[in-house]
C-alpha cells in the first residue's frame, strides 16, 4: 500500500492523467465544435471525480451493453454478429441521447469468433439463448479445489493450460502441452515444440488464429464507428478493465458456491491466491488505460455485496485485495471505477477508506442518501437510478425520481448521474425523460 507521501503523488498522477484525457489530445475530431463538446463532457466527469467546486452540472454517464442496439431494433444476435449494425446503433444512440460519456460497444464481442473457439464460458444470442436476448455467464467449477497451488505458483500457466482449455472446447488440446520453461535451452526445447506439432494442438492453434483474425476484422469495422462517436465529441466511459481478486476466483474460476465453501475449507489458499492476483489485476487495468489514453479503469464488483458475506468476511477476504488493486491503479495514475453491483448499505464505511485517492463508486441497489451521508465529499458517487423504472415506469415517474436522486446524492458536487446497471435494454420515452431531467435538475 502506498504511504502518505506516495498517496498524494498518486493523486497528482491521477489528476494529470484525467486532465490529459479530458483535453482530447490525439483525437481526430469532426470539428472544433465537437472538440469543445468532448472537452466539456470529459471535463464534467473529471470535475466530478476531483470535486471541482466550479463544476456546472451533474454529468450523465450510462453503462450499456445491448441497450443501444435493442433501442435501434437490432436483435442481440445481430448486435454480436454484425459489427456494422452494432456500430451504427451505438452511433445513433449517442446522437439521440447525448450522454456525457460513450458506451463501450466492444463489450458485445463477436459471435463468430466465439463459435470458432467453441466458447463455453457464456451462452449468447445465436448460441444457447434466443436471438432477441443478451449474453449470459455460465458459472461452473472451472478450477478444482486442488488447483490453488497451480494458480498461485504460475497463474499464466494455469490460465493457458488449465482455465482456457476448459472454457473453449476448440482450445482443449492446450491442456496437454507441457509448461514452456524448457524453451530456455536448446536440448530442453523439444518437448514443448513437439507438442505444438501434434495434430490436436495444431487444430487448436488454427482455431485460435482464425478467431483472432475474425476479431481483428471485427474491431476494424466496429472501430470505425467508435472513432465517429469520439469524433462527434463523446469521451469513452472507461479505458481499462480489472476485477476484484475475490471475484476472479468466485465468478470465473471456482464458482460462487465452491468458493464460499473454500472460505471454510481452505481459507489460507483463498487469501494466497487473491494476493497473487493483485499485481495481475493492476497490470490488466493499467495496460488498457494507457493503451486507450483514458485513466478510468472499470471494476465490476460482484460477490462482496450485502448478503453475500458478513462484514468480517468482507474485511478478511474481499476488501484488502480489492483495495490493493485500487491503490496500485492509482499509483499508475489510473482512476478505479468500481461498479458496485447489488447493495453495499452494510459496508459503505469501507469504501470511504479510499478517500485519499481519486475513486468512483457506481451504485446499483445501494441507498444513495446513505451513500452520500457516508461517502459524500470523499469519493465520487455514481448511479442509483433503478432500471426497473426505465423499463416499467412512466416518463413522469422517471423525471420525478431523477430529481429526487440528484437532490439526495449530488450535494457535494462529486456525483455522476447514471442508471444503476449495465443496460441490456431500455425504453425510448423513459430514457429520453431521464436524460432531459438529468440535464434540467442537475445544474448546480
Amino acid at each position: 500500500m502506498v504511504d502518505q507521501e506516495n498517496k498524494s503523488a498518486a493523486r497528482e498522477r491521477q489528476d494529470a492523467f484525467l486532465a490529459q484525457w479530458a483535453s482530447g489530445e490525439g483525437i481526430d475530431f469532426a470539428g472544433n465544435e465537437e472538440k469543445a463538446a468532448y472537452q466539456k463532457r470529459a471535463g464534467l466527469i473529471a470535475s466530478a471525480i476531483t470535486f471541482d467546486p466550479d463544476i456546472e452540472r451533474v454529468p450523465i454517464n450510462l453503462l450499456t451493453t445491448f441497450a443501444p442496439t435493442m433501442l435501434a431494433g437490432v436483435s442481440g444476435r445481430e448486435a454480436m454478429y454484425n459489427p456494422d449494425a452494432a456500430g451504427k446503433a451505438y452511433l445513433d444512440y449517442h446522437n439521440i441521447y447525448q450522454p456525457d460519456a460513450a458506451g463501450l460497444a466492444p463489450l458485445l464481442m463477436y459471435g463468430p469468433a466465439l463459435e470458432t473457439l467453441q466458447y463455453k464460458l457464456y451462452k449468447w444470442p445465436g448460441n444457447g439463448v434466443a436471438d432477441h436476448l443478451s449474453f449470459q455467464f455460465m458459472e461452473k467449477e472451472y478450477m478444482k479445489a486442488d488447483e490453488y497451488d497451480w494458480l498461485i505458483n504460475d497463474p499464466t500457466d494455469f490460465w493457458l493450460r488449465g482455465f482456457v482449455p476448459k472454457t473453449a472446447d476448440a482450445l482443449a488440446p492446450l491442456a496437454s502441452i507441457p509448461p514452456i520453461y524448457g524453451a530456455m535451452e536448446l536440448p530442453m526445447f523439444g518437448p514443448w515444440l513437439v507438442s505444438m506439432g501434434t495434430p490436436p494442438v495444431q487444430e487448436a492453434l488454427k482455431a485460435l488464429m482464425e478467431a483472432g483474425k475474425q476479431c481483428f476484422d471485427w474491431i476494424n469495422t466496429l472501430g470505425g464507428y467508435l472513432a465517429k462517436i469520439m469524433a462527434a465529441g463523446f469521451p469513452c466511459c472507461a479505458g481499462g478493465f480489472s476485477k476484484a481478486p475475490f471475484d476472479v476466483l468466485s465468478d470465473s474460476l471456482r464458482g460462487t458456491t465452491h468458493l464460499m465453501m473454500d472460505l471454510y475449507r481452505q481459507p489460507e489458499k483463498v487469501l494466497e491466491a487473491m494476493e497473487r492476483l493483485v499485481p495481475l489485476m493492476i497490470s490488466l487495468g493499467v495496460g488498457g488505460a494507457v493503451a486507450n489514453g483514458n485513466p478510468i479503469v472499470f471494476i465490476p464488483l460482484h460477490k462482496g455485496a450485502d448478503g453475500f458475506m458478513s462484514n468480517e468476511q468482507f474485511e478478511k477476504f474481499y476488501w484488502p485485495s480489492l483495495k490493493a488493486v485500487m491503490y496500485g491503479l492509482a499509483d499508475a495514475g489510473c482512476v478505479p471505477f468500481c461498479f458496485v453491483e447489488g447493495a453495499y448499505n452494510q459496508r459503505l464505511e469501507y469504501l470511504a477508506e479510499t478517500a485519499d485517492i481519486r475513486s468512483v463508486y457506481f451504485f446499483d441497489r445501494t441507498d444513495m442518501g446513505k451513500a452520500r451521508e457516508v461517502l459524500g465529499g470523499k469519493v465520487c458517487l455514481q448511479g442509483g437510478f433503478p432500471i426497473s423504472l426505465i423499463l416499467t415506469g412512466t416518463a413522469d415517474e422517471v423525471r420525478e425520481e431523477t430529481r429526487r436522486l440528484i437532490d439526495a446524492a449530488a450535494g457535494d458536487k462529486g456525483y455522476i448521474l447514471s442508471i444503476g446497471c449495465a443496460m441490456d435494454e431500455a425504453k425510448h420515452e423513459t430514457l429520453k425523460a431521464f436524460m432531459e431531467a438529468g440535464r434540467e435538475y442537475g445544474v448546480y
Binding site: M260, M261, G307, S310, G342, P386, L391, E425
Partner: protein
C-alpha cells in the same frame, strides 16, 4: 435421549469435519438415526434464524446445505423412507412450490439456494431448472399441484416472461389458487407491480419465510 448438543453446535458453528465425525460417532453409539437427522434440522433452523438476524450470510447457507447433504448420506441407510419428511414427523409437507428461472434467463445460483432452503424447511419443491418457457411453468404447476410458483431471474429481460406467467395463470382461471413470488438481483416493488406477483424478494431466507407464511 442422547444429548446431541455437540453435533448441534458443530453444525451451527460451521465445523464441517467435526459435524461429520460426530454424526458417525453418535450413529456408532446407537443413537437413533432419526434423532440425529432431527438434530440437523434443528441446527439448520437455527442457522436460518441467524441469517435473518444478519449474523450468517450466503457462505453459511451453502455450508449448512453441504453438511446436511453429507449427514443425510450417512443417515439414509438407517432411516425409514417416511422419516425424512418435515421435522422428522413423517412425510407431511407444508405445501408445494414450483420454482424455475424464467424463459431466456439461464442464471440459477440464487434459485438453487432457495430450492435447498425450501426443502430443508419442509416444503415440497419441484425445480424446473433454467430458461423455462411460460406455458411449461404453468402446466407443470398444475400437474404438480403447486400452491406457490417461485420465479427467478437475474436479467431485466426476465421481467416480461415473469409477467407472462402471471397473465397465463389469470387466463386459465388459476390466479387466485396459486401464489406467485419473484426473486432476483433486479427485483423491486416496481417490478413486482409490473409483473403482478404477490411478492418479490432479493434474499433467500425472506423468500422462504414469505412462502411459509402463506402456507401456514
Amino acid at each position: 435421549m442422547t444429548d446431541l448438543k455437540d453435533l448441534f453446535t458443530a453444525i451451527v458453528d460451521m465445523q464441517e469435519a467435526d459435524a461429520l465425525a460426530l454424526t458417525k460417532q453418535h450413529l456408532g453409539n446407537s443413537t437413533p438415526a432419526i434423532d440425529i437427522f432431527n438434530c440437523y434440522q434443528e441446527a439448520l433452523e437455527e442457522i436460518g434464524k441467524r441469517f435473518e438476524k444478519q449474523l450468517y450470510f450466503i457462505p453459511e447457507l451453502i455450508m449448512s446445505g453441504e453438511m446436511m447433504k453429507a449427514g443425510a448420506e450417512i443417515l439414509k441407510p438407517h432411516l425409514a423412507e417416511q422419516e425424512t419428511g418435515s421435522g422428522g414427523n413423517g412425510n407431511q409437507k407444508l405445501g408445494k412450490v414450483l420454482i424455475a428461472t424464467v424463459a431466456g434467463d439461464i442464471h440459477d445460483i440464487g434459485k438453487n439456494i432457495v430450492t435447498m432452503l425450501m426443502q430443508l424447511n419442509g416444503l415440497e419443491v419441484r425445480d424446473l431448472g433454467v430458461d423455462v418457457p411460460t406455458d411449461e411453468i404453468v402446466e407443470e404447476a398444475v400437474a404438480f399441484g403447486a400452491d406457490v410458483i417461485g420465479l427467478s431471474g437475474l436479467l431485466t429481460l426476465a421481467f416480461d416472461p415473469m409477467k407472462a406467467v402471471v397473465e397465463t395463470l389469470k387466463e386459465k382461471g388459476l390466479r387466485d389458487k396459486i401464489k406467485v413470488i419473484i426473486g432476483g438481483g433486479q427485483m423491486d416493488q416496481q417490478v413486482c407491480s409490473y409483473v403482478g406477483a404477490d411478492a418479490f424478494v432479493t434474499d433467500a431466507v425472506l423468500g422462504v419465510n414469505r412462502v411459509k407464511g402463506w402456507l401456514s
